[in-house]
Subunit: 110 residues, 2 copies
Amino acid sequence: MPRTDSLELGELTDSMFYILLALTTPRHGYLVMQFVEETTRGRMQIGPASMYTIIKKLLNAGLIEPIDGDGKKKNYQITHKGRSILTDDVKRRQAMVEDACAILDMEGSQ
Amino acid sequence: MPRTDSLELGELTDSMFYILLALTTPRHGYLVMQFVEETTRGRMQIGPASMYTIIKKLLNAGLIEPIDGDGKKKNYQITHKGRSILTDDVKRRQAMVEDACAILDMEGSQ
DNA sequence: TGACATATATCATTTAACGATATATATTGA
DNA sequence: TCAATATATATCGTTAAATGATATATGTCA
């Protein structure tokens, strides 16, 4: 991914992918971490360092936005732009799986 | 991906994924670059720097092996271990797409 | 009151990818 | 024949991504 910012290419890293997925429902950081671990059944986990680094980046890029500061927790949700990029990225990943299934002898994906 | 070697986690980066896919048929480096560009219809391209860096890493990890040096070209092919890791990685990626399709309102993948 | 869960944050480090660049041979066509 | 282009391999130095370690503060509950 380096040398060129993945977001400028319109591509999401695995971590960004799951964090955006988590924020299709408004959540704060700690809940996002839990969401990722639960949704992936432990396959992937994101610690606080990655979490807040990526949250900051997604905010800067306008893919998520802060909402109502109830108490000390900071809530975020995905933006229209974020949802659009996430949807495109799902298609990109789907295409990768299909490429592989066509070449290997695996059950395809439709 | 940093801080921990992706191969030690049994995970492949996008570039490794396509290079391994290319080497399910014996090829040399230059053909691998072309394979990736063609297979992805230009969505992804790997230049020589990435190419040879990753080839070296996959050799070290025993996921590919050199075969018959006909002339100056170095041919490589995927090993049994490489194929096993590639297959697992396809499943991992398939799971990511399915997670997303379940949460977003997209046509699923079975 | 001590342990644990919840919650946010930063720094320094490692790994990954890659632009730039270099080198050499083969092919093609003006 | 000579220049351009394609084929083919290789390295160096840089940027970006992820994260371990660490710090801080509050809430809960036994």
